[in-house]
């Protein structure tokens, strides 16, 4: 018997399938479509669940899923749920090389959730051999048939709404991967909040090219469409990246009403789409283009509006939003029926005194809107007290869709969740309920909507000749007016013959080869220039703040304290010496 109000994702699938409308449409890069109705999705998932159970999948265990955007992904995802287990979508291998790094990152994520099984497809599975071989305890690779063979539906205890539903990673990294554990209750609360908020506008047709291992793609697009028994048209992320016009053409062809994306995607459209690719395109059905997952640029949105107005894009469609995977997805939404708003603030006051003071020549900040119904935002100061309007502080969030915690990481959970409030690590101020993001307190790099740990990049240049080991800081920020975050690396040089540009080029190459990330700039500094804590740890945000203020300078020659500090090896150098001896 299906309950009228779903309390688990499995029930959501059952009730969505029962309605008899809607489903998933997969558009390939030649723009051919394949439609799979929600009831077909459910039938395939039930068969997949039987197959997974027969392969030994136990209720409650974490099952990793490495699949590209395809019906197979949903077989594995919903199949795992119907088998009573917990899906953990991970990203598929990057194309063209750097598999060593991919194996490491994937193995670290598998270990973090203690996964013993990984579901993939034949071509990807062969590449994953090295990943799973390196895992301890052993991980079994499962390849489901396409479509899954029909077996009897497994009989399992149905999960309760407070049980773990899925695990998503807030960043893909070998350095302390953080598995965000979400309950059925939290996810469904997020889905209902979204649908309640946009139901009248979103209609029944979504389009998404977002990866399915990303909260915005899965929780923001797939589940809301399923709850409404609506149509969702999916494009593979690589198809969009290669030819962004396909996104807009697909929106037009299927009269898509809602489609979210990170800021960089709107910039990519401006950069790559030619007018002749949009012949006959009509964007007027598009009602909601959410812009989130990374800092939002007013300039990019203005240009996007100007550029595509001729194809029927209305100015109120672009809507900045704010959220994070630890809150399932969205926390704030800007008004969906009016154009986005921004304001300019005195740079110095924002940075130095933490106050938002209007200044017509100041830094332009976009409002990401107000807290969604059921959510609360508090801006807290250094001592934890709530700040008043227009004071910059740390963003804390409370609401119905917060994570249970980081899976198997009690210490990280205790730091992030305090008395029911989530510490986002973001810096912002509120102005009459509207949230304006100013920066981040956490050392996280955001590259095209994905989070990375700075250590990944800093470690990549260990051992570069002429660079002081352990004396590097990777930071990212969005320059004013830019479409994307800029990725910067500060390094300190050793005395030697290699020129600064030579050192910078080597660092650039090493980082690209080892992490797949292209740095926008490498700043080679004299020894001792990077600000450090009293224990010698490099202060990344301080380095960035000084760099942006044009004040990242070497210590003065005769400043004894700085001079001595520059002579002290960094923590990691000391560690290396110990381990070497």
């Amino acid at each position: 018997m299906i309950s009228p109000v779903a309390s688990t994702l499995g029930e959501l699938l059952a009730s969505g399938a029962q309605v008899g409308t809607g489903g998933l449409r997969f558009v390939d890069r030649r723009e051919r479509a394949r439609f799979v109705s929600w009831s077909q999705v459910e039938r395939r998932a039930a068969a997949a669940a039987g197959a997974l159970r027969s392969q030994g999948v136990e209720p409650g265990e974490c099952v990793a899923i490495v699949l590209r955007t395809s019906p197979r992904f949903f077989d594995a995802f919903f199949g795992t749920l119907l088998a009573g287990a917990v899906p953990v979508p991970l990203y598929p291998p990057v194309r063209l090389g750097r598999l060593a790094e991919y194996h490491q990152v994937t193995a670290a994520m598998l270990a973090a959730v203690r996964a013993r099984r990984l579901v993939s497809e034949p071509t990807v599975a062969r590449l994953l051999g090295d990943t799973v071989d390196a895992c301890d305890p052993h991980v079994d690779l499962i390849v489901l048939e396409d479509p899954p063979r029909v077996l009897s539906k497994p009989t399992i205890r149905s999960p309760r709404s407070d049980d773990l539903a899925l695990v998503q990673f807030s960043s893909g990294t070998t350095v302390e991967p953080k598995p965000v554990a979400l309950s059925h209750r939290a996810i469904l609360a997020q889905v209902r909040t979204l649908n309640d908020h946009w139901r009248d506008l979103a209609g029944a047709s979504g389009v998404s090219w977002l990866p399915l291992y990303h909260d915005m793609g899965l929780i923001g697009c797939v589940f809301p469409a399923l709850e409404l028994a609506a149509e969702l048209t999916l494009i593979a992320p690589e198809t969009f990246i290669h030819r962004p016009a396909i996104w807009l053409r697909t929106l037009s062809r299927y009269r898509g009403t809602v489609s979210p994306a990170p800021n960089f995607a709107y910039g990519l459209c401006l950069e790559k789409i030619r007018d002749d690719e949009l012949e006959g395109v009509d964007l007027s059905p598009w009602r909601i283009a959410l812009n989130g997952a990374e800092p939002v640029s007013a300039e990019v949105m203005r240009r996007f509006n100007r550029r595509f107005a001729g194809w029927g894009l209305a100015p109120e469609v672009l809507a900045p939003v704010y959220g994070l995977s630890e809150a399932s997805l969205a926390v704030t939404f800007s008004d969906l029926e009016t154009p986005f708003t921004s304001a300019r603030f005195d740079r110095r006051e924002l940075a130095m005194s933490g106050r938002a003071v209007a200044d017509s020549d100041g830094r332009e900040l976009v409002s990401v809107g107000k807290a969604l119904p059921g959510f609360e935002i508090e801006i807290r100061g250094g001592h934890g007290g709530a700040l008043t309007d227009r004071c910059v502080g740390r963003v804390w969030v409370r609401g119905p869709s917060l994570m249970d915690g980081y899976l198997n990481r009690p210490r990280a959970t205790a730091e992030a969740l305090v008395d029911g409030w989530l510490d986002t690590g973001d810096r912002a101020f509120l102005d009459r309920g509207e949230l304006y993001l100013v920066g981040r307190d956490k050392d996280i790099l955001i590259v095209r909507g994905r989070n990375h740990a700075p250590e990944e990049i800093e470690r990549a240049i260990d051992g570069v000749e002429g660079i002081r080991t352990g004396c590097a800081a990777a930071v990212s920020y969005r320059p004013e007016g830019a479409a994307a975050e800029a990725l910067l690396l500060f390094v300190e040089r050793r005395p030697g013959r290699r020129s600064r540009s030579e050192l910078a080029a080597t660092c650039h190459g090493e980082v690209l080869a080892r992490t797949g990330l292209a740095l926008d700039h490498v700043e080679v500094l004299s020894p001792g220039t990077l600000p450090r804590t009293s224990s010698g740890k490099i202060r990344r945000r301080e380095a960035l703040a000084r760099y942006r203020a044009g004040e990242l300078e070497p210590p003065r020659r005769f400043h004894l304290g700085h001079y001595l500090l520059s002579m002290i090896p960094s923590r990691r150098q000391r560690h290396r010496r110990r381990t070497a001896s």
């Binding site: 890069r29 598929p92 291998p93 990057v94 194309r95 063209l96 090389g97 750097r98 598999l99 071509t123 990807v124 062969r126 590449l127 690589e238 990246i241 290669h242 030819r243 095209r448 650039h508 190459g509 690209l512 080869a513 797949g516 990330l517 292209a518």
Partner: protein, 83 residues
């Protein structure tokens, strides 16, 4: 059938047209370091190569591909396989 030198020149032309690559490529050019291929550019190059040579590259084909020469080998192999 295309010779290796022809394939190399065509890949160079694709990189110039689609990745704004300026300069000469040799078989020993490394993809990540010399061509500055991050994941986004790598994806673009793959699709351009597939479209241009009318071949289909699976992720498994790309295992161990580090240089432009490795890429030339794969294209040559897939082209000869179909002919």
């Amino acid at each position: 059938m295309s010779t290796r030198a022809e394939i190399l020149r065509q890949i160079e032309a694709l990189a110039a047209a689609k990745l704004d690559w300026r300069g000469e490529l040799s078989e020993s050019s490394r993809l990540a370091e010399d061509l500055a291929l991050d994941s986004l550019r790598a994806m673009s190059l793959i699709i351009e190569i597939e479209n241009h040579f009318r071949i289909s590259l699976e992720p498994t084909d790309e295992e161990g591909v580090e240089t432009v020469g490795d890429l030339v080998s794969i294209v040559a192999q897939l082209k000869s396989g179909e002919g």
